[in-house]
């Protein structure tokens, strides 16, 4: 509600009538936007009426989208560099470079639009703070976006002319984008892991690996869907799916209070769905595609689509789990009561 709204007399009168109607119905006039904390008192068992201690992450939809785009772009730059080194076919290298460049262009746009004051995005480059993953990430992204774009553009020229200087520029840019790309695809795990949010910081040791695998499988899958049949892509995506299967099992086996948001409620199902789509499902499809030559292509296509959807859902599930985790005061307060998100949403009567 904006200030001008609340100051308007009509709004206030309207609210008073609303409260009266609620009172006549016999329920307490509680703000409808808030969960009802009336059931739990303020005590050593409940904390302060069971209210959240931590602030909910305020990142909007752009941030998980960025985690996806940045992860894909970073992994694509590694595929481009290694692919060229191993004399993979030119189309694959060129496609991977462009995927990195496009991801590197979309990423800053997403991040800037999530800022509260987008016009001040350049303030990110005022200082460099090694202890702030957000600062490290901002600088990495700048270096990556520029080098990935340079590698893609000059690589295109190189094809036509094969000039020596252009080749040197392309290779240098490609090397730079691969190195920064590896940081870009992994630092986002540190970014959310090194926070006060329990479900994130509890997994700080695995989040970067999870995100790297997620980005890698999505990048390889997108390149496959773009018409690259290289067997190497299948193997890369297979390896990444194996890592993700392992991650999914590890999450499922963990039953600490801090990881409750990964296993219960909507965020739990999102995480499970994401794990299934990016882990065992594409893993099985790709193994099948290796076994028989007949339907190999369509199996790989299906695996690729599943991996991309899984990767996207993984990022959203982690961000949303962070929001659910912040609402649960039992972890930061070390309460004896089990972490129960349903306690918060329980009706008063």
């Amino acid at each position: 509600m904006s200030i001008s709204n609340i100051n308007s007399r009509d709004m206030r009168e309207q609210r008073l009538h609303e409260i009266r109607r609620q009172a006549e119905r016999g329920s307490a006039p509680v703000s409808s936007a808030e969960p009802n904390y009336a059931a739990s008192g303020a005590s050593a068992e409940n904390g302060y009426y069971g209210m959240p201690l931590l602030k909910r992450p305020q990142w909007t939809v752009e941030v998980p989208l960025y985690f996806f785009a940045g992860g894909v772009a970073g992994a694509a730059s590694v595929i481009a560099a290694v692919g060229q080194m191993s004399s993979a076919d030119r189309k694959l290298v060129r496609d991977a470079r462009w995927l990195a460049a496009i991801g590197g262009a979309i990423s800053p746009a997403l991040l800037i639009s999530d800022l509260g004051m987008p016009s001040r995005f350049l303030n990110m480059l005022r200082v460099f703070k090694i202890k702030s993953p957000m600062s490290v990430g901002s600088w990495t992204l700048v270096a990556f976006s520029n080098s990935a774009a340079a590698a893609a553009v000059f690589g295109q020229f190189q094809k036509r002319r094969g000039n020596g200087a252009i080749r040197v520029i392309t290779d240098t840019a490609q090397l730079a984008s691969a190195i920064t790309g590896m940081v870009l695809a992994t630092y986002t795990g540190v970014l959310i892991g090194a926070t006060a949010i329990p479900v994130w910081n509890e997994h700080v040791g695995t989040l970067p690996i999870h995100f790297a695998a997620s980005g890698t499988s999505a990048a390889a899958s997108i390149l496959e869907l773009a018409g690259n049949q290289s067997e190497a892509l299948n193997k890369i995506a297979l390896g990444a799916a194996a890592v993700e299967t392992f991650m999914g099992v590890a999450i499922e086996r963990k039953s600490t209070p801090a990881s409750a948001a990964l296993k219960s409620g909507a965020t739990g199902w999102a995480m499970r769905g994401a794990g299934l789509l990016s882990g065992p499902l594409p893993l099985a499809l790709r193994i099948l595609s290796l076994a028989g030559k007949k339907r190999s292509r369509s199996l790989r296509r299906a695996a690729a689509i599943s991996s991309i959807a899984g990767s996207l859902l993984t990022r959203f599930a982690w961000v949303e789990a962070g929001k659910a985790s912040a609402a649960d005061n039992s972890v930061p307060l070390k309460l004896r009561t089990k972490a129960t998100p349903d306690r918060l949403s329980a009706p008063s009567e």
Partner: protein, 262 residues
């Protein structure tokens, strides 16, 4: 100049919310909406971008005897919460723009002309204090009345507090005051007092400590707050492993593809 602090003594707080009002007026903070929480007289809920002082209303069971009420009525505990101005401040460490700084008085201050609203401080505060204003875009929290302190004045909340529940002064003096107050009350028979000042935790001490009755967790004060920078080592190590796996896996995939394609 000296290093300053707040001591909030909840045994003296009467829940009048003068600190909230004074803070809002002096700092010209927008209001919070016209809502009732419905579970206590605390209709503010918690600290946030538009609430830099917040009086908690802890309603407990009957506590007959000294400092308590008659057996048939509830006991009340009030405590005015505020940004803790940590020694190792998560928000300050996390801020990528350098907008959050340590002042000459030891407080943690967000420079509003630098903040670009990335909201990373929001998830980096172990006390859930900092918040981004969703309408205006930037992050806000208690400034420790940096402007007033520079003029040699007490913060607005401490000035307005009618019972001197909120005390302001030089940090070491206040720590001593807190200890004296604890001793005095304990001698008078208060057995459930707690001085909240987590100096042993990774936040390394705070510039706003509290005397509360009963378990501090009833006031949503975390027993062991952690500054998130403690997770960095493990995180970057994992990122290193992840990058290594990415590179090795990609190399492996391409090399095999060349030698013996299936």
């Amino acid at each position: 100049m000296s290093i300053t602090a707040f001591l909030t003594d909840s045994t003296l707080c009467i829940g009048c919310k003068a600190c909230e009002v004074a803070c809002k007026e002096w700092n010209q903070i927008p209001h919070d909406g016209f809502d009732w929480k419905g579970f206590s007289y605390d209709n503010t809920g918690g600290l946030g971008h538009s609430t830099w002082r917040h009086v908690k209303f802890v309603e407990g069971g009957a506590v007959p005897g000294i400092g308590g009420n008659s057996p048939e009525s509830f006991s009340w505990g009030f405590s005015s919460d505020v940004c803790k101005h940590c020694e190792n401040a998560g928000c300050l460490e996390a801020c990528p723009t350098g907008a959050i700084v340590r002042t000459e008085f030891g407080g943690v201050f967000i420079q509003p002309d630098v903040c670009n609203g990335c909201a990373y401080c929001v998830v980096s505060c172990p006390f859930g204090v900092v918040e981004r204003n969703p309408e205006e875009g930037r992050a806000f929290k208690c400034t420790f009345c940096y402007d007033r302190q520079k003029e040699g004045l007490k913060p607005a909340c401490a000035t307005a507090c009618p019972t001197e529940s909120i005390k302001f002064g030089e940090i070491e003096d206040l720590r001593e005051t807190a200890q004296q107050r604890m001793n005095k009350l304990q001698n008078e028979g208060f057995t459930d007092l707690y001085l909240y000042d987590p100096r042993d935790s990774s936040v390394g001490g705070i510039h706003a400590f509290f005397i509360v009755r009963g378990d501090p967790r009833a006031y949503n004060l975390p027993p062991a707050p952690e500054v998130p920078t403690t997770y960095l080592r493990k995180g970057w190590l994992s990122a290193g492993v992840a990058a290594g796996l990415m590179l090795a896996g990609t190399l492996l995939a391409f090399s095999k593809g060349r030698n013996g394609s299936r």
